[in-house]
């Protein structure tokens, strides 16, 4: 179940980065805006696999050097934490874009009304922006969650023991490749279908009170 934990942690971290990033990209100073633009462009243009390698090795190395500078013995960084951080940084770039689009989709009048009421930016974020953008953001975020569950498989390459890696080890030990890979596939698929059902309910909850839109496709 390490896969699930990593996916959940990475998605949460990505969401936190995404909220900051979307806020920075929309309302930040020009410098902040450009830096976030650079971050999202680079992360979205480079394969996750390469990013994971760079962040995994460079990240653990950097942390150990920092700790060394502070005069402590180097620590062995927990694979789970490293995995969550690495995938979280990747997810953050995507969720920044999703949330930015969702915030832009809020009718401008609602935010102006909140400002006119004299709400502080924090209160406005909590009471108006986040709830109002949720229906627009949920389809994109749902996609991101599904990507997060599947990206955990990539951690197999840095030798982390999650579902795919364990499956390969078990399969090569027993020579029953087909059985194990199909079983793992079914596990991932169940997670996806289960998530889809939950996301459908959440979306209906987030859209409550909105006039129903006829299927436009």
């Amino acid at each position: 179940m390490a896969s699930f934990e990593i996916a959940l942690g990475a998605f949460g971290l990505g969401l936190a980065i995404g909220i900051c990033g979307a806020w920075g990209k929309l309302y930040g100073s020009p410098m902040v805006r450009d830096l976030f633009g650079l971050y999202t462009t680079i992360v979205r243009a480079v394969p996750e696999l390469v990013l994971i390698l760079i962040l995994y090795f460079a990240g653990t190395d950097l942390v150990n050097r920092l700790i060394g500078l502070l005069g402590y013995a180097p620590v062995d960084i927990n694979g789970l934490v490293a995995g969550i951080c690495v995938l979280g940084v990747v997810q953050g770039a995507y969720s920044t874009e999703v949330l930015r689009g969702a915030i832009l989709a809020i009718p401008q009048g609602q935010i102006e009304a909140a400002r006119a009421y004299g709400m502080s930016p924090g209160l406005m974020l909590r009471r108006i922006t986040l709830p109002a953008m949720l229906p627009f953001a949920i389809p994109g975020l749902a996609n991101l969650w599904l990507i997060a569950t599947k990206d955990t498989a990539l951690l197999a390459i840095v030798g982390f023991n999650e579902l795919t890696q364990t499956t390969r080890l078990a399969a090569s030990a027993t020579k029953a490749y087909f059985t194990f890979f199909v079983a793992a596939g079914i596990l991932y698929l169940t997670l996806t279908l289960f998530s889809n059902a939950i996301i459908g309910r959440v979306e209906r909850w987030a859209r409550r009170g909105q006039p129903s839109i006829a299927e436009t496709r």
Binding site: S29, P30, M31, D34, L35, L38, I42, R44, A45, V46, P47, E48, L49, V50, L51, L53, I54, F57, A58, D61, L146, K150, D151, T152, A153, L154, A156, I157, T164, T167, R168, A171, S172, K175, Y177, F178, F181, V182, A184, G185, Y188, L189, T192, L193, R217
Partner: protein, 269 residues
């Protein structure tokens, strides 16, 4: 528009782009690049350059082949889901769900290790003319990436086919076009136009999926980078260069799709 006005507009655009903070950022970037060239180890580069070029070529080849095959599979898949009879629509939807619901790495390993360990058990496969190919890694890589692209694009094409207004198809039939001509001239074309921006994004995603084939011993540009790292013990430089190469390829893909989009005169309602 007069030439002066054009020049004025261009200057205005440039000054908008060249704001002070951007200049500082660019200077910082130049300093970082120079520092990277000066202080990092690049002496391995000349020795591995031919191999790296070969790897880049193989990555691009893989991308083009799988995207082409994948889209030609995705069109019937999307059509089956959008307008096909149930006995075609249900398997097509099941295929897309399974492909989209499992990690590509798992599919790749299932095909390579699973099928690869299954095939030698059948003598008639070993004796067939296909065996020399089936013993290599690349058919499995191409197959897995093609199926994955087809699965995702099948879903995109379903939406695109369903999004073409019915009136267009009825008009085509009223002109006396046969079903096939109407499909080719009206339905497919309009669906592709609609799907083009999504397809551009999906193709970038496909590019980012290609390094996975390195895990089944295909030598693409990613595999070259990891080989450099193993042989020379240089840790970060090959990875940074690799990231740069992928960003360049992404830029080319985005540019090509933009050209394609600009060529098509669309008037979507």
């Amino acid at each position: 528009m007069t030439p002066e006005a054009t020049a004025l507009r261009r200057a205005a655009k440039a000054s908008l782009w060249l704001q002070p903070h951007r200049v500082i950022l660019m200077l910082a970037a130049v300093v970082i690049v120079l520092a990277a060239i000066r202080f990092m180890r690049w002496d391995w580069l000349p020795a591995y350059l031919p191999l790296a070029l070969e790897g880049i070529w193989r990555t691009v080849w893989l991308l083009v082949v799988t995207a082409t095959l994948g889209i030609s599979l995705a069109i019937p898949l999307g059509l089956a889901q959008a307008a096909g009879p149930p006995w075609l629509a249900v398997p097509a939807r099941a295929f897309c769900t399974v492909i989209r619901g499992t990690p590509l790495l798992l599919q790749l390993w299932l095909l390579y290790y699973g099928l690869g360990s299954l095939f030698p058990q059948f003598p008639w496969i070993r004796e067939s003319f296909l065996w020399p190919y089936l013993r290599q890694a690349w058919p499995y890589g191409v197959l897995a990436l093609t199926l994955s692209y087809a699965g995702y694009e099948g879903e995109v094409m379903r939406g695109a086919f369903a999004g073409v207004p019915r009136g267009q198809l009825e008009a085509a039939r009223a002109f006396g076009m046969s079903r096939w001509t109407a499909f080719r001239r009206i339905w497919l074309k309009q669906a592709l136009h609609r799907a083009l921006p999504t397809l551009a994004g999906e193709t970038v995603l496909q590019l980012k999926a290609t390094p996975l084939v390195a895990t089944i011993t295909m030598i693409d540009v990613y595999a070259v980078a990891s080989r450099v790292r193993q042989e020379t013990f240089v840790t970060y430089e090959p990875l940074l260069l690799l990231a740069l190469v992928y960003m360049a390829i992404t830029g080319v893909i985005v540019f090509l799709f933009r050209r394609l989009e600009a060529r098509i005169l669309t008037r979507l309602g």
